[in-house]
Structures are given as structure tokens and as C-alpha cells.
């Protein structure tokens, strides 16, 4: 028997897509029955109260969660987000309902024994509700009370050998695509790089010292499956700088219709016979592919590595062998000054352990941004305010035509004094010798 009537939410139980309402209801039942005799450390009926408060929002058209609150574990400034319901008398089970961010494994692979440990922990000490996963990539445990936080952290570290993620004005939990673990396009070992950066920068992850959040995201190739270019202050995107490897026999098999193009991704509609000229050659953004006499040729010098030809014929074309990454900086969502995409800073960098070259770029940027960044200013905004040239200065990177889409429109150039012959110091008296007032 449901604790609260939820006629609006009940309508979200129908339809084919997995219903979070049905799922929460099954958790309510499980906790009410308590078949295993768990000594619940937070109210057993908290999922019921969550449905109750959500139903109230569906009626009111407004949220019923209070603003923040500072809670956390000893010595950390991130990883836990305080949350309180604004109707605690009606919904005591969720009066205190904090979020715990748990650092996810790179590539989001799991063994069930780990997940079951997590479930047991969250059954005893939390609401039993999670996000798999939050937008930044963490495992998100939804809903617990303050006295449980240290105990949860103790369990995570002592018995699960796992740490919390980041929140607040610090390094957010780095995330990556699954990379070389199961993708032929991955130019770098995104998982190892992500793991290494996460561990190298534990202090920055857990103890807020930045002007605002800072995100690393790592994509194995320009297809961008973790959206590094759109949402990370420091985007590492795998690429190569030699030749795309071509297997002409397999090209012929694609041309002959023996292999479905685009790995079969378009199989749901009859698009007609695969046409290499139309679908690959004419769609190449730099026009560097030729298909003549049954042979595919790529002028690699002119290739911009957009991935289209490789995506379309993955069995015939493969990424080059001289692999590394491009680094782009400054992406963010619209708050405050409009959305920004990451801008190219390092066209090519080798991404091999111990990743010293990449870390040097990171630390130079941090030194600058922590000095110059305003409160709640993302790196992209600092770059806009103080110029891309300043970013080049602090990272000791030489300007390159690859840094711009096109050169500037206005000639209002900020020359430095040392760049101008004779410097800026002049005597007005000398000027007057040649020019009357």
C-alpha cells in the first residue's frame, strides 16, 4: 500500500520506456517488506516520501528541494552535496537527503561483485536510489543523512577501495570514453590517461582551491563520445598525424555491396546501393579523397581527420599509426556569458605515461587561472576576458595558424612595447622640434 497517492506520477508507469516511477515503487515495496532484515540507517520509507514530494511538484509546478547546505566528509571539500526537502513535516523520510558522488571507473565497466557491494551499502545507509550515472560521469548515490556520510566514506575506502568524486569549485571527476578497450577508433588509451590524471590530482579533486569548477574529459577520437569539446575546460581528444591505412580489397568489398556501410548503422531504411563517390568522396570536408579505377586514394596532407570516411568504411580504413591527442580548452554551458566550445591549444601531443607533457600544460593553465580567474569564472571566460594570447604565454606555446578559424577582423592589435623598435618612451620636446603646435 503506497504511503502517498501519486495519480500524476502513476501515469508515467505506462508506455514502453523504462519507468523510474515503477522502479521507485518496487524499491518502496522492497524496503517495506525488508526480507533480509536490514537495520535501515535512514528512514525505510524514504523512497515513498520521494515519490510524495515529486507528486507535489507535479501539482505545484515547482521544486520542493531547498538550496544546498554545506555537508561533507572530514578533510574533503567536495564529493557530497547537501540536500533538504522544503516540506520536511509532510515528507520526513527525505527531510535530509544528501547526494554522494562516487568516483566511477574509467569507461564505466563493472564487475557485479562491486555493484552488489555498492547496493548493500546504499540499502543500509542510503535511500536505495541512484543515478547510473550523473552528467559528469560519477556514480551518484541519491539521498542519505549527515550522520551516515563518514560511515559511507569509511565503507567506500576501507572495504571497496574506492574514493568519492568531485563537486564544488574544484577539479570535477575526470571522465573518458571507453577508448581502446573496445573501440578501433581510439587513438589513445583514454582509460589509463583518465585514471592517471584522476589520481595525480586528488588534492585538486577533493579540496576546492579553484575560482570555479574545472573539467577534464578525454575522447579517444574526433567522434567525441564523451563530448569533451563541448563541456570540459580541458578537452583531450585523440588524433593521429600520419596516413589513414587503407585496405583496397575491403574497399572493393564495400563497393560491391558485400559489406554494409557505416558498420550497419543505417540498416533500418533502404537508402539504395552504397555509392563510394557520393557517400564518401563527395562528403569529405576537405575534398582530399579520390576514387578511381576501383582504388581509393587519400591525400593525407589535406585530411582534417573528421572520421567520416573511417566511420563509413571501418573495415577498409583505419586510423594512422602516429597517434596522440589534441588539447582544446575552455568549453562550458551558457551560464554566465553564453555557451563556449573548447578552443584548440595544442594541435598534437603524445599521450604516453607518465603524461608529463600534458600535465605541464595543465599546471601552467591552473597557475594562471587560479591567479587571474574571478570567483565563478570558468577557464573559457578567463580566456575570453584576458585573451587567447595570454593563454599561449602562460603555456609557452607558439602561435600557429591552427589556433584560429580565420585571422582577426580588426587591426586593433595589442602590440607589446618590446615588439616595437625603439620602445614606447619618447620625448615630446624631440617631437616638437619637428612639429609645431
Amino acid at each position: 500500500m503506497a504511503k502517498h497517492k501519486t495519480p500524476l506520477l502513476d501515469q508515467l508507469e505506462s508506455g514502453p520506456w523504462p519507468s523510474f516511477v515503477s522502479d521507485i515503487k518496487q524499491e518502496c515495496d522492497s524496503r517495506a517488506k525488508n526480507a533480509k532484515g536490514v537495520d535501515y540507517q535512514i528512514p525505510a520509507d524514504c523512497p515513498d516520501d520521494l515519490l510524495g514530494v515529486l507528486e507535489m511538484s507535479y501539482v505545484d509546478g515547482e521544486t520542493h528541494w531547498k538550496h544546498g547546505g554545506i555537508v561533507g566528509v572530514f578533510g574533503y571539500g567536495g564529493g557530497v552535496i547537501g540536500r533538504y526537502c522544503d516540506q520536511p513535516q509532510m515528507f520526513p523520510g527525505v527531510a535530509h537527503f544528501h547526494t554522494v558522488r562516487v568516483n566511477q571507473p574509467s569507461g564505466l565497466y563493472y564487475k557485479t561483485d562491486f555493484l552488489r557491494q555498492l547496493c548493500d551499502l546504499w540499502e543500509l545507509r542510503g535511500s536505495g536510489l541512484t543515478n547510473m550515472h550523473g552528467s559528469t560521469g560519477d556514480i551518484v548515490l541519491l539521498g542519505t543523512t549527515t550522520p551516515q556520510l563518514e560511515e559511507i566514506f569509511f565503507e567506500l575506502t576501507h572495504n571497496m577501495n574506492n574514493d568519492l568524486g568531485g563537486s564544488g569549485s574544484n577539479l570535477r571527476t575526470p571522465s573518458c570514453c571507453l577508448g581502446q578497450s573496445r573501440c578501433e577508433f581510439a587513438c589513445i588509451d583514454t582509460q589509463q590517461l583518465c585514471y592517471d590524471l584522476t589520481n595525480t590530482y586528488q588534492d585538486e579533486l577533493h579540496r576546492p582551491a579553484f575560482p570555479y569548477k574545472f573539467k577534464f574529459k578525454i575522447d579517444g577520437c574526433p567522434n567525441g563520445c564523451v563530448a569533451a569539446i563541448a563541456r570540459s575546460d580541458f578537452s583531450i581528444i585523440g588524433t593521429w598525424r600520419d596516413e589513414i591505412r587503407i585496405d583496397q580489397k575491403v574497399v572493393a568489398a564495400y563497393a560491391g555491396g558485400e559489406i554494409k556501410p557505416n558498420a550497419g548503422a543505417h540498416a533500418g531504411r533502404d537508402w539504395g546501393k552504397f555509392d563510394i563517390q557520393k557517400e564518401v568522396v563527395e562528403r569529405c570536408p576537405s575534398g582530399c579523397i579520390r576514387y578511381e579505377g576501383g582504388k581509393l586514394e587519400i591525400n593525407n596532407k589535406e585530411c582534417v581527420r573528421c572520421m567520416h570516411c573511417i566511420n563509413t568504411m571501418p573495415r577498409a580504413l583505419r586510423i594512422g599509426n602516429d597517434r596522440g591527442a589534441s588539447i582544446l580548452c575552455g568549453a562550458k554551458a551558457p551560464i554566465l556569458d553564453g555557451p563556449q566550445m573548447s578552443s584548440l591549444l595544442v594541435p598534437f601531443i603524445k599521450a604516453e605515461e607518465p603524461y608529463s607533457e600534458i600535465k605541464e600544460v595543465i599546471e601552467n593553465i591552473w597557475d594562471w587561472w587560479m591567479e587571474e580567474g574571478k570567483n565563478r569564472e570558468r577557464l573559457g571566460e578567463t580566456m575570453k576576458r584576458l585573451s587567447f594570447q595570454k593563454l599561449l604565454d602562460v603555456t609557452n606555446i607558439k602561435a600557429d595558424a591552427r589556433h584560429v578559424r580565420e585571422p582577426r577582423h580588426n587591426p586593433y592589435i595589442f602590440w607589446k612595447e618590446e615588439e616595437v623598435t625603439g620602445g614606447w618612451k619618447r620625448e615630446i620636446a624631440d617631437y616638437r622640434k619637428k612639429h609645431q603646435k
Binding site: D23, T99, Y110, Q180, E184, A227, H266
Partner: protein, 381 residues
């Protein structure tokens, strides 16, 4: 309920304390075939919607069955996922960056059995628990935020709008008949924890009323200079006012300058702005993240406001299916939604999608606005 300690001693917080160990190393969790062939994958194929085959240089094969999930999931549900992974996959599984679940096996027969098993499981309310799909030129799972379930600044719900949308486009999740992948994303306010600013179709919660000011508490709960600095349009200034016969420090809002971003509320809890009639949804389209063919692009606002209509947001889902249908009919193979709109022209986009263009869709926010106005006589009647 008696308090159970795991071992933490508040008297001696540093005793035996373990900190800064990071996540578990990913290698512990890789399925054997994945671990063995890491870095040597030769190619992949999508055998049918939701079923992938990856072949390694060694000739080893791994079949992946992908299924959707609500993202907000309970431990009962996760345990069921674990049961399936134990039964079929030696206890291994993974999640995708778009909140799908992937089960990996080494033979096609196992993959087929797995697909049948997953599609056979339903919640008591009738919905699928693990619908197989989400691959190739179709709609995959929606990345989204917390909404009314757990967040303090939302202008709409996230889980509910996503459920309503995925129900409406479910056939595009289980098939691959669109011109290119369509990525839908949802963020319940302009903070955009969901980063919807680069998605083919974005559902975005927005406010339309300026913040209220809780003069009674503002000076105690907020740093006035931070609240003032939080406003990107300079609409907030410090001031003093009378409150129950006492003079209090507070702020004033120049309301016509407010563009309802909610940043002030984030900095100052005494400036709430959510409102049943004021809040709702904007629809944005044409963003992308991939560098494939064309460069990554921002999403553009095409519907400035749709009221919140819980529980199923029918106007919102109608608009989304209209856009999806027009794109499906009009775009060329491989052409992403934004590239199609750019090719036919945005004036034509509104026509074929049956959407109204209004003054709200002309950018008026600082420099970015200018770059979106038209400076050519090349346009369509």
C-alpha cells in the same frame, strides 16, 4: 533503528583514515575478451538495433547487447542487472556515456538469448525494464539532469520529461532508420548540468519571472556582493529596505534587465524565481559534438517556451516528434539535424517543422547576437 558504525571514530577522525585513493582501476572490471584485445580492435558492425559486434586483430569477437535505462535507478533494479550479467556475462557489464547498459558475450547465440531475455523483462506498470536498442542512425538514451526529483533550481522535471519523450520516440530507439544519429539531451535549468548546448534536440527548463526577494533573510543567508556580481546583465544592486520596522541590507532587481538565468539564486538562496506559470521548457536543435564532416555546433532555440504539462508534457513531445519527422523526411543520409537545417535554411526549417518564428528567437544577448543576424540578401521566400 540502532546506529551502526562501520568503524569511523569521530573522536579520532584521522585514525586509520584512507583518503585520496581515486577510483578502482578499470582493468579489474574488464571482461576477459576486452582485456585481452584492448588496443587491437580491427572493426565493428551493428548486427541489428542494439546488438554490436567488435572483431579484434586476433580474430576474437565480442558481441554487445545495449539496452536503455531510466538513469534514475534503484538498487533493486541494479541487482537485477547484476543477475543478468552473472547469468550471461561472467559478472561483467558496462554503462555508456548516455546511460545505456551494455552486456557483452562472445557468441552470437548468447547475444540473441540475451536480447530475448532483456526484452522479456517488464516493470509491474507495464514498461520495459531493459529495452534493447540505441545504436546507429536512431535515437539513443537521453542524457539528463535531476529536475524536481532532487534539484533546488529546476524549471521543470527531468525524469518525467525524458520518460514522456522516450515513450514518444521509442520506435526510433529500437530501429535505425533516421538519416544520422539524433542525440536528445535534457537540462532542467540554464545551469545545464546536462550540457544540452550541443545536442541535435535539447529540452531545456527555463524560468520567465524575475527573482523574488526575501528581505527578511537575505542579509543573513547571502553575501550581497556575490549576489550582485552573479548577475550577467547587471540587474542587481545592493540596497537597504525597511523590514518590520528595522532597516536591513538587501538587494534590488531591475526587472527589465533580467533574463531569468537563475544565477543569482544559485549564489543567494533568498532570491528564488521558480513559478508554476513562469516556468516551462524551451526546445533547442541543431547542436552536435562530433567532428564528423562538419564541425561541432551549438544548439539553437527554435521554440522559446512550452508550459510545463506534467505528467506527460504533450505539447513538448508533439514538437519533438514534428521536428524528428520533418528531419527524417528531408535530410540526406549521414546529415545531422543541424546540417540539414543549415542546408535548407532556417526559414525553411520552421516551415517544414510547422513551428512559429517569433521575436524571442532573434538573439539579443551581447556579441553572440550579432553573429546570428543575417548579413546577406541570400534568403528564401
Amino acid at each position: 533503528m540502532a546506529f551502526i558504525s562501520s568503524g569511523y571514530n569521530p573522536e579520532k577522525p584521522m585514525e586509520n583514515r584512507i583518503t585520496d585513493i581515486g577510483p578502482r582501476h578499470f582493468e579489474e572490471f574488464l571482461p576477459p575478451v576486452i582485456k585481452k584485445n584492448k588496443g587491437t580492435w580491427a572493426y565493428h558492425e551493428i548486427l541489428e538495433p542494439g546488438v554490436l559486434l567488435h572483431v579484434a586483430d586476433s580474430g576474437d569477437k565480442v558481441y554487445t547487447v545495449r539496452c536503455g535505462a531510466a538513469r534514475l535507478m534503484t538498487i533493486t533494479h541494479i541487482r537485477e542487472i547484476c543477475d543478468i550479467a552473472d547469468k550471461f556475462c561472467g559478472g561483467h557489464l558496462r554503462f555508456t556515456t548516455r546511460n545505456n547498459i551494455e552486456f557483452m558475450v562472445t557468441t552470437e547465440d548468447e547475444a540473441k538469448a540475451l536480447k530475448k531475455e532483456l526484452n522479456g523483462r517488464k516493470f509491474s506498470g507495464g514498461s520495459y525494464k531493459f529495452p534493447v536498442g540505441g545504436t546507429g542512425a536512431g535515437v539513443t538514451n537521453i542524457v539528463h539532469t535531476q529536475g524536481w526529483v532532487h534539484c533546488h533550481t529546476p524549471a521543470t522535471d527531468a525524469s518525467g520529461t525524458v520518460k514522456a519523450t522516450m515513450d514518444a520516440v521509442f520506435e526510433e530507439f529500437t530501429s535505425m532508420r533516421l538519416p544520422a544519429p539524433v542525440r536528445i539531451a535534457m537540462a532542467c535549468c540554464l545551469n545545464m548540468c546536462g550540457a544540452v548546448h550541443c545536442s541535435d534536440i535539447a529540452i531545456l527548463g527555463i524560468h520567465r519571472k524575475p527573482p523574488m526577494i526575501d528581505h527578511e533573510h537575505l542579509d543573513n543567508m547571502c553575501e550581497v556582493p556575490l549576489a550582485v556580481a552573479a548577475c550577467p546583465t547587471g540587474a542587481i544592486r545592493p540596497t537597504k529596505t525597511e523590514w518590520q520596522g528595522k532597516q536591513v541590507n538587501t538587494v534590488a532587481v531591475k526587472e527589465e534587465r533580467c533574463m531569468f538565468c537563475g544565477n543569482c539564486y544559485t549564489m543567494c538562496p533568498s532570491m528564488p524565481l521558480s513559478d508554476k506559470e513562469g516556468d516551462g521548457i524551451a526546445i533547442m536543435v541543431g547542436g552536435k559534438i562530433s567532428n564528423r564532416i562538419t564541425r561541432p555546433a551549438f544548439s539553437k532555440v527554435v521554440v522559446p517556451f512550452i508550459p510545463n504539462e506534467p505528467p506527460r508534457w504533450p505539447t513538448m513531445t508533439k514538437v519533438i516528434t514534428q521536428i524528428l519527422d520533418a528531419y527524417s523526411k528531408g535530410a540526406r543520409k549521414y546529415e545531422r539535424l543541424g546540417d540539414w537545417a543549415n542546408r535548407i535554411g532556417w526559414e525553411r526549417f520552421f516551415e517544414v517543422c510547422g513551428l512559429e518564428f517569433s521575436h524571442h528567437l532573434i538573439d539579443d544577448f551581447r556579441d553572440p547576437a550579432y553573429y546570428t543576424w543575417r548579413q546577406t540578401t541570400q534568403f528564401k521566400f
